[in-house]
Amino acid sequence: MSSGDSVAQVQTAQIRAAGSSPARQSAYLPGEAYDEMFAPGGATRPHYELLRHRIETLGADELEDRQETLERSFLLQGITFTVYGAESSTERIIPTDLFPRIIPATEWSVIEKGLTQRLRALNMFLADIYGDQRILMDGVIPRDLVLGAPSFRRQMQHLYVPHKAYANVCGSDLIRGTDGAFYVLEDNLRVPSGVSYMLANRDASRRTFPGTFRQAGVRPVERYPDLLLATLKSMSSEWRSNPQVVVLTPGVYNSAYYEHAYLARLMGVPLLEGRDLVVHDNMVYMRTTNGLRRVDVIYRRVDDDFIDPLSFRRDSSLGAAGLFNAYRAGNVVICNAPGTGVADDKAVYAYVPDIIRYYLGEDAILPNVETYLCREPSQLSHVLANLDKYVVKAVGASGGYGMLVGPHASAKERADFAEAIKADPCNYIAQPTIQLSTAPCLVDGAMEPRHVDLRPFILSGDKIVVTPGALTRVALKRGSLVVNSSQGGGSKDTWVLADDADVAALDEPAKSAGARP
């Protein structure tokens, strides 16, 4: 764990000087953002009470010990990503924070309903866009915005997708604003990653705070792998009774390789690379030691562009030639469907509330972050005039690249970016700078606030399932709002609490067990 911030270091020095005193609350200074653990007056929010109590009884040394044990166990399990340098490559663990982030049942039920609604609407939108395009005829979304998006795949036009489930795995990014409400910042419908961290973090935090975990009544996330398998199987259930499911990975050099292997292992299905696949007569096979064997469902963790050199990028060797034709012929299912990216395009994002209203006749349960489209002249001039207040993002970029954070940028950076926007306004959107909520993290032995977001995972096949848990990503640098792991982000476990009734049910047998002689 590193923190280059001088303020953080001063505080650390004070804590160290105090010896092995408990990690005290006095060092904790939440800023103006909503804090997950403490209400504005400094009182602990009720759902954090158990955890606070536990933390107070542990010394700073004890906490650091547990942090070390945790990091050691991640390294040993190989939960790492690879950092490529000039000479050699090294493997690092994604920094993982000891304290779980806790979400009470009432808040979660809103999130769950909101995400289900959103994914239902987005799947209907995709079926429509790759079908009759009613939404474009009715003028709800500008035609060129959808059909001109780089992620639109005309090859998908009029192609049958079972259950109209295009985005089988979705990982939406939610943030909590200063008002305490959750907003959707981004929908990830292509190949969202991070679910292995959700599961690995849970594994770790159960061991770090076993008593608190049991008492709190945390809803389990361990069923994710079998729910994922059921979702994938449901995609071909109409014509194959026991389909062969596989995971397709770009290979061991991909930064998310650990996750691909992890999911394949927990689902008990083969982990394939493109070179293991053979397509013959529009059938897809894998090369086994005993000849070829038919493949029915491919959970691919390879981007659209790379899955088939005949249909998409010609220079790709990560997929298999002819795969897409086999898909067209209905002999194999690719999950997520190619072309889902058009629904998480940053410009289309601005229209999601309209999309929900159009297909479902409902208002969006989870609001969007206010978004300005630079393609609209009136919005463009507003953005250019207030560049110091907004975050401007390139539509096609992701991972925290190609963006301007107005309030933190210099005048020259803003001027340069303004030129870029004017040159290609369609490629940019702007959003107000949002103070993400903060959660307590263990930084050099002391508890400090760090900004966090929330990435829950939603599965859709014959039905939509939201896993009661999430990956909480943490901006480890004090004050930073960027949580991407490629930009120095970390993660922590997320406890979704069961309803009170469930908590009581969980508590009862434990108490009686303790009372037995």
Partner: protein, 313 residues
């Protein structure tokens, strides 16, 4: 049924861990011999370096450097460190096929030899460092045996282990018993070093008592039925595993099994007196060649087979 690429990786994990263990043991014997005030060190170093194909006589004079090169040389593809790194890289590619217990043993070994403090640890106590690696490799094999299903994947890994072992033992014996090397084989110190390098000293003593006789040693390391590092033991296992792996293959595709059976029969029904009379050199060379042929045949049969054979008509 398993992926061809996965089978290949598992096979290579077996080969690389066996190689790492053998090289570590050669280096340990060299280092321990170095403690005696005799020419034992030079003898041991000469045997070990010749067995890994480095006959440069000047190197055997500097035992510590030679051991260091065997253990930690980043350039030499035949060092313990590189072998472990490759075993682990293969394991990473088939991470979904091996159990967590097995993976963690191997990952731990890899983290140890690539640790920034590894040079210091080696300089501090080289023999101890290597002995720990050997012990950890035993833990790896134990974990694989105790936690992995003894199915196809496990058999590919073990075939890799035994093919590598048979080849390495053949090369080690060639150094001491090939027709050109015969005079050296009468040296007591050299013979003790050989037994230690084959991890065979205690089992040998149980069978032949402390009678250190070159003929007995050759017989023991070539033909013993029960000693896990004898060539005969290895070829028996290779045949056994390939018989399982080839069960569903048609006749002409079971070439690897045919070769393995032939090699095993050659050792099983060999006559010790005849070998003694004719010189062990030709038999040992044949073992190395046949192992290479089995390796090729396995690749052709299970991994890189022509697709026309298996496409539906």
């Amino acid at each position: 049924m398993m992926l061809a690429r996965v089978a290949d990786s598992l096979y290579w994990i077996g080969r690389y861990v066996e190689r790492a263990e053998h090289l570590s043991r050669l280096a340990v014997v060299m280092l321990n011999a170095n403690l005696d005030r005799t020419d034992a060190a030079a003898q041991a170093a000469r045997i070990a370096l010749a067995a890994v194909g480095d006959p440069d006589p000047t190197r055997s004079a500097q035992v510590l450097q030679a051991a260091h090169a065997l253990a930690l040389d980043k350039e030499d593809s035949g060092s313990v460190m590189i072998s472990l790194a490759r075993a682990r890289e293969n394991a990473r590619q088939v991470r979904d096929q091996i159990t967590t217990e097995t993976w963690e043993r191997l990952n731990l070994l890899y983290l140890r030899v690539t640790d920034p403090g590894v040079e210091e640890a080696f300089a501090d106590d080289a023999a101890g460092f290597l002995q720990e690696i050997i012990a950890d490799l035993h833990l790896f094999k134990g974990a694989a045996d105790a936690t992995m299903s003894h199915g196809e994947g496990w058999r590919f890994m073990l075939t890799g282990i035994y093919i590598e072992r048979a080849q390495l033992m053949a090369r080690l014996l060639e150094v001491c018993f090939s027709d050109a090397a015969r005079p050296a084989a009468n040296d007591h110190i050299a013979l003790m070093s050989l037994l230690r390098m084959a991890c065979a000293l205690e089992p040998y003593l149980r069978v032949y008592t402390a009678d250190i006789n070159p003929r007995f040693i050759l017989e023991f390391l070539l033909f013993d039925e029960d000693f896990p590092r004898s060539i005969r033991f290895s070829t028996e296992r290779i045949e056994e595993h390939l018989a399982h792996l080839s069960r569903r293959l048609e006749g002409e595709r079971a070439d690897a099994l045919r070769l393995a059976g032939r090699l095993n029969a050659r050792l099983k029904y060999a006559d010790a007196d005849e070998v003694e009379a004719a010189g062990a050199g030709s038999l040992l060379a044949a073992v190395a060649d046949e192992c290479a042929a089995i390796h090729e045949a396995m690749y052709e049969t299970f991994v890189a087979y022509p697709l026309e054979l298996s496409l539906p008509a």
